[in-house]
Assembly symmetry: C2
Homo-oligomer: 116 residues x 2
DNA sequence: CCTCTATATCGACGCCTGTCAATATGAGTG
DNA sequence: CACTCATATTGACAGGCGTCGATATAGAGG
């Protein structure tokens, strides 16, 4: 389960629980914070931007290493974080791994923001 | 200048510079990442939520220490980060410091997201 | 099977950050 | 001025995170 899904499910749960305070609970805050943590790195933001602007909406690791001026293991590490957060989709075709934006993921994070 | 203002001004600058890649530049990414860093902590998200839900849209530090179960210096530290990011407004009246949401700040961050 | 290439994982290192205790600042009050 | 209370700042510590080099995995082609 991705972080984005967790953030949304805990929010839904909170809206139906009669519990204490009407403000953001500790567990929901934890999940949503992890979502923003995925965005809280300049290189990850650039990765999202490049993938979004790429032809066909997808890019492989080899296309991403050079513009960021980072080592390949580091790029793979950032991509994994974005995939785990539910922002990127990973599809392996042959030797290459293609990453694409999960449709609507960014918009859903924007919704999380306004629902604070 | 707040981080939010920096993030927006660098974005505006980027839209008019004829420079290289059409994707997110390094400095813009840096500024926007710092904005998300301010949101990438569960206690800061809860602070925003409590302030937003507070009566009159403002709360003082003494109201925020208990629900978060954190020490007063820690809460002040988080509040400072949110103020520096341009998300909270600080007004000192007498001995108390009242914090309120900067109008439209969250929405503008949502815009930053969709403009990635 | 062997090699080559693309990607992922591991281990280590340094930096950043969240937290607290202690202290400083500063406004109100007697 | 002395005292108190609310808040901010400082210094220190532990844990998390970004980065890299080295290594593992896995698919393609001879």
């Amino acid at each position: 389960m991705t972080t984005l899904q967790i953030a949304e499910s805990t929010a839904a749960q909170a809206c139906c629980t009669p519990s204490g305070t009407p403000v953001l609970g500790a567990e929901e805050a934890q999940g949503k914070a992890q979502l923003f943590k995925a965005l809280a790195d300049p290189n990850r933001l650039r990765l999202l931007s490049i993938v979004k602007a790429s032809d066909g909406g997808e890019a492989c690791v080899c296309d991403l290493t050079e513009p960021l001026d980072l080592g390949q293991p580091t790029v793979s590490h950032h991509l994994k974080i974005l995939v785990d957060a539910g922002l990127l989709y990973r599809e392996k075709r042959g030797t290459w791994a293609y990453y694409s934006l999960v449709p609507g993921a960014l918009e859903r994070i924007a919704d999380v923001l306004s629902a604070l």
